[in-house]
Point group: C2
Chain length 143, copies 2
DNA sequence: TTAAATCCTATCATTTTTATAGGCTTTAAG
DNA sequence: CTTAAAGCCTATAAAAATGATAGGATTTAA
């Protein structure tokens, strides 16, 4: 399961991507429009800024804007930033590898092999799910 | 991520499936062989018994055995029992559906659509990953 | 000067996860 | 009939993760 944090982050990013004319856009606008707790969202957007996914502008008429094209930001990147590993098992994660403590022999673990295949498939789809892709999907669903 | 509980459960089930001649097999045998905390595993096997995935036999020379063929028990079933929903979002879960609280319109949510596609793919693979399949994979990996 | 924004630091309640402890009950063998 | 070895049952609890909230400092444009 995606955490609410990651879900809020992606929702906010999609919202920003959809309002590129009005950028920068303030936390309070996003929080209100998308029903996200204001202070929680503030801390999330700070993380996105620190990770250089967003730019920020301080002061009146300030706010956040995408750092890069909507095609360059995908769900995998955001989920890894906020939730850590994407895979079902730590021993199969590219970015957050850890041994399964109880594991006897990683090489011959059948559960692990299944987890690898699911990881590959899931990752492919999450990387294809860029902000541009999600916005396009929503445009299509709108009709 | 799979919880340790679910991982331990699947590991134990695979172990039992591999030792069908010696069934029933005791918690302590499994715990020792697979490096799983004894009392924790005990509570997990109780859950599997309550869900009719395992049979138990009390008293000396008692223990647990599979309730059904190794082909009939798959990872999806075990994960749902111990961890709940398999999907990335609650609004996309077959067995544990919930609205995303903040969601404005589920029908036109692009994130949800991505989550549905990943759910379908993941579920297909988890359902194919029966105990028999996992054992066969390990036999193959052994060489 | 002021309004509206981000930035920064601290705190915190709740839930989930990962167990542990200890005794009761059942069963098969000797 | 006793005993060893197993599951059954109930309670407890430490640690980590999750999902926030509070309040003030700083920055910027009008």
């Amino acid at each position: 399961m995606l955490s609410k944090k990651a879900k809020y982050a992606i929702t906010a990013l999609v919202f920003i991507a959809k309002h590129q004319e009005e950028q920068p856009i303030s936390v309070s606008k996003i929080a209100e429009a998308q029903n996200i707790p204001l202070k929680f969202l503030e801390s999330i957007l700070t993380e996105l800024k620190n990770a250089r996914i967003l730019n920020s502008k301080k002061g009146k008429y300030g706010g956040y804007s995408l750092n890069g094209a909507p095609e360059s930001i995908d769900m995998a990147r955001v989920m890894r930033l906020l939730d850590g590993a994407i895979s079902l098992l730590p021993c199969v994660s590219f970015n957050f590898y850890e041994r399964c403590e109880e594991c006897i022999d990683e090489r011959t673990c059948g559960i692990r092999q299944v987890a690898m295949e699911i990881r590959d498939e899931t990752l492919k789809r999450l990387q294809a799910a860029t902000l541009a892709d999600i916005v396009a999907r929503e445009d299509r669903l709108q009709q």
